[in-house]
Amino acid sequence: MRYAMAIDTKRCVGCADCVVACQTENNVPEGFCRDWIVEETIGAFPELQLEIRSERCNHCDDSPCVRCCPTGASHYEEGGVVLVNHDECIGCKACIASCPYDARFVHPEGYVDKCTFCIHRVREGKNPACVEVCPTHAMIFGDLDDRNSEISKALRTRKHKTLIPEAGTDPHVFYLL
């Protein structure tokens, strides 16, 4: 089993519903977010392109945050999901420094926090909150090891990319182009 997410840049309108849904679902404290929107404009007037992306922790296969964590708080769970065990986290911020995606922050209660792929929902057979709420159905979550999963099919049929592949972390959030 290998959980992953694909975000369709053709569908996404950048409304940030995924951000609010995550905040209410996961009680993310005010002033912080586990996912966010990036708009990238390419070209010059009037030959323009706009890429809109919903970004978050990439749940990398080779996660620098897990490697550098001195206490083992950052760890892999089932399906390769990268989590932080709050009780073992000492708030040293090594993981924050190591993450090429700037996906982590220090929760006001002292531990490091980030996207969990809503593992509590996934374990109940549901989609992550951001995927579930997206009005334009721009996000797909699923198991890459299952060839028949929607995400496997999307990655087989659609052109896609990952962010900062040169960091060599093998990210598991894909962007459909």
Binding site: K10, R11, C15, D17, V20, T24, F32, V38, T41, V133
Partner: protein
């Protein structure tokens, strides 16, 4: 990755700025059970949740959903899968609706003004004191001037109860800024052409269309939920999207054609398209013959409106005009020239929207799959009450010779009729303002203030201490939609449906639902007979029983879709009588001609900005509804302030850096609050753009105070549509001021 660091830093700073106001986080602290640590995720999964049905009040789309509590505390709001407005998926504003409930800046108790109007010195009052004050003033106005001198401004679900109240009192001066400041020209243009309006949610069959033409309609930035969903579906199904916009909008970025038109020239482009469709004989000949009136006159009228004629006006190249017209014809009848929604731009808006309506008729898209469908609406009877007294005069008497084809009262007209002048036959003396912040929804705020200073009574009913509440004599604090029942949502769609809003939480503070307020006020005014049910639950039971449902059933399902009673599209060759004078689709309008207006739309040039000035355009952001959400704690995290979009060449000329704070000054020397410059290739050089609803000046709204600039403040001029009185607001020009201190 500096950019993203900035993002988080920015959000952090934003959070800290409002930190003193933050409500206590309801964060669940991880606890140890049996010596083992339990992650927060496990805790969330194991806790109990309960759900209450609602329909969203954060915008007019009114999506139905479920409010979830966990351990008795507010948790989240999610869409109802049975609801055709949302298809189970809320937009960010609906998802963030909890912020309306948790906002610590909400109005908390009734207030009565104690000093000069506008100074904002109030005393806290009991509900009884507040209603006594209002009733005494309303009785006085009735006695001295007649009941017609009271007016109601309304926006939102609770407005209906006050409509009932003010009609019972004897006035028909009921206005919503959604008419003269928004979609009025669209309603009249389609009524004149097809004998029917567009309605809301729009009857556009976007999900089945093969070609969608957007003229200034920035779907995706205006987060009209069901419509955005259909837009995405059409786009992914390969529909051709043609977007006409001076700005590279989100929709433009998903379009096959982006036509960066020179602002204020859209009508010229529409006429050129009509010209091409007719000259190249691309129109639906059978449809035009069977259903339309005035084709020959139209053909003659647009003869000169060639793409070559339109090119220097619009800056859109002739071959692009032809190519896009052919794309529309190739897709016909599954083509939509989108009628838009906020269309009060330049003062000839009814004519511009009508040109689009005519183009739709030529392509045969009205009543066709992928064009415009026939919407259905549930018929749900209301309890009977005594007939309303007949008003002796109305707002229209103040302007006997103007706006002959306005079908609804003009907010701006009522405002004008409040300013005394010798010609006014109906001078308004009292306002009830429900759910609309007139200081931001009406243009020319100085005029609004002048009108207010002439009032004998101004009652503001709101959830937030918006600017208008600061000018009120009495402020009545309403509880949020999450804390109240409201009337059923009965809106048009592909299937008729009803939706229930039930209270998920008890009202916080000393706030009350609008229904209760209207009932209490009716008692004080001796008008209780017009509210046969004191409790809204009983009123809802009456209505639901009439359609074979009940409150108990609706609490379980939230939304009920009823059987479809009519076809969505015309049947092949169906005879159809349109509700127009000719019984046909009126390409030529005798009604307009009779009133001295162009029977066929005609382009006239609009004033252009002087050197160093740029046309001020405004629009929406997906996470905000006008100025109503710009203090919402969840939504301010997504967007705390607006920016002014400036083309890089213009920015260079003025030495403006991206991200720098500047001020805008309009042609009448009005200077804006400081606003961040967004230097971007995504806009033309002759205009600037900002999202509406920011630049609040009300101190009690602590998150939104002084965040960004208010476009309304800079709209000191309007071009009034002579046909129906809409206020064209994109006729203001701004220049830049670098000093922000």
């Amino acid at each position: 990755m500096g950019k993203k660091l900035n993002r988080r830093e920015f959000i952090k700073i934003a959070g800290m700025g409002a930190g003193g106001l933050a409500v206590a986080s309801s964060f669940l602290k991880p606890v140890s059970l049996f010596g083992q640590s339990v992650s927060r995720e496990k805790l969330i999964a194991s806790t109990f949740s309960e759900a209450t049905p609602t329909y969203c009040e954060i915008c007019f789309w009114k999506c139905a959903g479920w409010v979830h509590k966990k351990d008795g505390r507010p948790w989240k709001i999610v869409g109802n899968p049975d609801d055709t407005h949302s298809n189970g998926r809320f937009c960010p504003r609906g998802t963030g609706g909890l912020g309306a409930y948790t906002d610590p800046d909400r109005l908390k108790t009734p207030l009565i003004r104690v000093e000069e109007r506008g100074k904002q010195v109030f005393k806290e009052a009991t509900w009884d004191e507040a209603f006594d004050y209002i009733a005494e003033k309303m009785n006085g106005i009735k006695e001295k001037y007649g009941p017609e001198c009271m007016a109601l401004f309304t926006h939102g679900s609770g407005g209906g109860y006050f409509k009932n109240l003010i009609k019972a009192y004897g006035s028909n001066n009921i206005a919503a800024p959604s008419y003269a400041q928004c979609r009025g020209p669209r309603a009249e243009a389609y009524l004149l052409t097809y004998g029917e309006g567009i309605g809301s949610p729009e009857r556009t069959d976007i999900e089945n269309t093969k070609c969608l033409v957007l003229i200034g309609s920035h779907i995706g930035e205006n987060m009209h939920n069901g419509q955005v969903q259909e837009f995405t579906r059409a786009h992914m199904n390969g529909a051709t999207v043609i977007t006409v916009d001076p700005r590279f909008s989100t929709a433009a970025s998903k379009s096959k054609y982006w036509l960066p038109i020179k602002p204020a020239t859209d009508l010229a482009l529409l006429l050129a398209w009509i010209n091409v469709i007719i000259e190249e004989e691309l129109y639906d000949k059978e449809y035009v013959k069977k259903y339309t009136y005035g084709f020959e006159a139209l053909k003659k009228a647009v003869k000169g409106n060639t793409p070559e004629w339109a090119y220097p006006i619009t800056t859109i190249k002739p071959h692009i005009i032809r190519e896009t017209a052919r794309e529309m014809a190739a897709a016909a009848p599954a083509v939509i020239i989108h009628p838009g929604r906020h269309v009060t731009w330049y003062g000839d808006d009814t004519q511009r929207v009508r040109a689009g309506a005519i183009l739709n008729a030529l392509l045969g898209s009205w009543g066709r799959r992928g064009g415009f469908y026939a919407p259905s609406k549930a018929h749900v009877p209301k309890p009977e009450h005594p007939p309303y007294p007949k008003p002796q005069k109305g707002w229209r008497d103040a302007f006997p010779d103007k706006y002959p084809l306005a079908n609804l009262a003009l907010s701006s007209g009522i405002c004008d009729a409040t300013i005394p002048s010798t010609t006014d036959a109906c001078s308004i003396k009292g306002w009830i303002v429900y759910g609309t912040n007139l200081m931001q929804t009406l243009p020319q705020p100085q005029k609004t203030i002048k009108a207010i200073q002439n009032l004998e009574l101004l009652v503001a009913i709101d959830i937030m201490p918006s600017e208008i509440t600061g000018w009120a004599d009495v402020v009545l604090p309403e509880c949020t939609y999450l804390e109240r029942y409201d009337d059923l949502r009965i809106s048009q769609g592909r299937v008729p449906s009803i939706a229930l809003r039930a209270p998920a939480f008890e009202p916080q503070y000393n706030t009350k639902p609008a229904y209760w307020m209207a009932v209490q006020l009716a008692k004080k005014l001796g008008l209780s007979a017009y509210f046969p049910y004191e409790k809204i639950e009983d009123y809802l039971e009456y209505r639901l029983k009439a359609v074979g449902s009940s409150l108990a059933e609706m609490k379980k399902i939230g939304v009920k879709n009823l059987p479809l009673e009519q076809e969505l599209y015309f049947l092949n060759g169906e005879d159809y009588e349109f509700a127009t004078p000719s019984g046909k689709i009126e390409l030529y309008s005798d009604t307009l001609a009779e009133h001295g207006f162009d029977p066929i739309p005609r382009y006239t040039a609009h004033e252009e900005p002087q050197e160093g000035y740029y046309r001020l355009l405004y629009g929406r952001a997906p996470m905000h509804s006008f100025g109503r959400t710009t203090n919402n704690p969840l939504l301010t995290e997504l967007k705390l302030e607006n920016e002014v979009w400036i083309h890089p060449k213009v920015a260079r000329e003025w030495g403006i850096e991206n991200g720098e704070y500047i001020r805008l000054e309009n042609q009448d020397k009005v200077v804006s609050n400081k606003v961040k410059a967004k230097v971007t290739e995504r806009i033309r050089h002759d205009c600037v753009y900002m999202v509406h609803g920011f630049g609040h000046t009300q101190k009690q709204m602590r998150r939104s105070l002084n965040r960004g600039a208010s476009d309304t403040q800079l709209i000191t001029r309007v071009n009034v549509d002579p046909i129906m009185g809409g206020t064209g607001m994109r006729v203001n020009f701004v220049t830049f001021r670098k000093e922000v201190a």
